[in-house]
Symmetry: C2
Subunit: 249 residues, 2 copies
């Protein structure tokens, strides 16, 4: 492959690279606030919009976070969201020492419409319990979404979940004596809509992971379906589909 020209990089990318270098060098520590757009613009003798673009690029790289009215600060590295057939959201992040905060969920009765019935592979009209929830790790919002639990499989689940902020895996294990398994996970990228943007404290249009999941009982019976949006600057997903052997030395 010939690499003839690579000299004329856009100015905002040059600035982004300089800022990236100084973050990686450690000139700017984790959580530290960067100067505002106006001051940075003066530093490179460019317009405010040009450094703004550089900062937006760095945000999509996961290096900084921008909050309107507050400023731009250095982000910690992305979290690893590990998914295998057995998963506990809470246990996984606590194992890494991350401080997880779940919002108290909002619960409502629901029934499977045509779309939901297809996604969950259950009959139309079945009784469900809908749960709106959100999570934050290390003080920064991570996810926001909704889940649907089958009342037929998890009787009385609405009362169980009301106000509950712990690990649902443990809850179901102790109350029903069952284990849930991740059967299917779908990943998509979507720009943040106004409501999701507000919940996750990102600007409208910021790229989000849209994740749809289906959890089943051990025999493959569908039990829970969920749709969540995750900040793409805060997380990376790691899905295990088979065991791996480590070779040699």
């Amino acid at each position: 492959m010939s690499r003839a020209r690579e000299s004329h990089l856009p100015r905002y990318l040059e600035i982004a690279e300089e800022l990236e270098a100084s973050i990686r060098r450690g000139d700017l520590g984790e959580g530290e606030l960067l100067p505002g757009e106006l001051e940075l613009a003066k530093r490179w003798s460019v317009n405010r919009h040009t450094v703004g673009r550089a900062l937006n690029h760095l945000q999509q790289m996961g290096l900084v976070a921008r909050v309107k009215g507050h400023g731009t600060h250095v982000r910690p590295p992305r979290l690893d969201y590990r998914i295998a057939d057995q998963v506990s959201f809470t246990a996984m992040f606590e194992a890494v020492g991350a401080r997880v905060r779940k919002q108290p969920p909002t619960i409502h009765a629901a029934r499977a419409d045509a779309t939901l019935a297809t996604l969950m592979r259950i009959p139309v009209g079945e009784e469900l319990v809908g749960v709106r929830n959100g999570s934050a790790v290390g003080g920064s919002p991570l996810s926001w979404g909704v889940g649907y639990f089958r009342e037929a499989v998890l009787p009385g689940v609405a009362d169980l979940l009301a106000g509950f902020r712990g690990s649902t895996s443990e809850l179901f294990r102790s109350v029903y004596g069952i284990e849930l398994f991740r059967a299917q996970t779908r990943f998509e990228v979507q720009p943040a809509e106004p409501e999701a943007a507000a919940q996750l404290r990102v600007a409208i249009g910021f790229p989000l992971f849209k994740v749809e999941k289906l959890d089943t009982l051990s025999d493959g019976t569908p039990a829970v379906w969920g749709l969540s949006y995750f900040r793409s600057d805060a997380v990376r997903f790691d899905v295990q589909t088979r065991p791996i052997i480590t070779v040699g030395a």
Copy 2:
């Protein structure tokens, strides 16, 4: 002027929604070119940059694609990239009737450095065959990346792959009599760097799926590791970790 609007939605989102509606209605057919920014700006009496933002938003939603010097056209719906423990990229998309075109791969000898050895779970210094490749579906670029094949597990793989553009799953099955299994897949979102942007025909900064995969033999022995970038407007990933039963009716 009269900004006495009671909708607190940004103007560019209102325009994006109107365009979205007319695409979903079918006023604009798949593949059809939209008017240029200047004409659209006249239509809504706004600046060119405002409609530009609306179009960029629609592109991130996967509804349109923008190509510099060419224009903005309506995209087909996102492809479903189904991943289970047994996968064939080629077979999967051909099953959906999509026309897959793989670029002839570029091959080079390589050795596992510390990073690669950790990722592949093999000893440092092991002999590998590096393969740069790209794919397009339905005439639009989809992925671009690099793969590393273990010479010890797939002897003579460099010669096999040189100029080969078919299904590698089938190739390995017929030549070595082995089946490869997807063991691990990592998903991350990254803004397009200049080189990836050029290969995938998107603007610099456009959000891409960064996908790392590890394929193994049936006993879990690592065989192939790969890193690919996928256009996030063109694809959605669907990972199956367990079988699912369909209930009722």
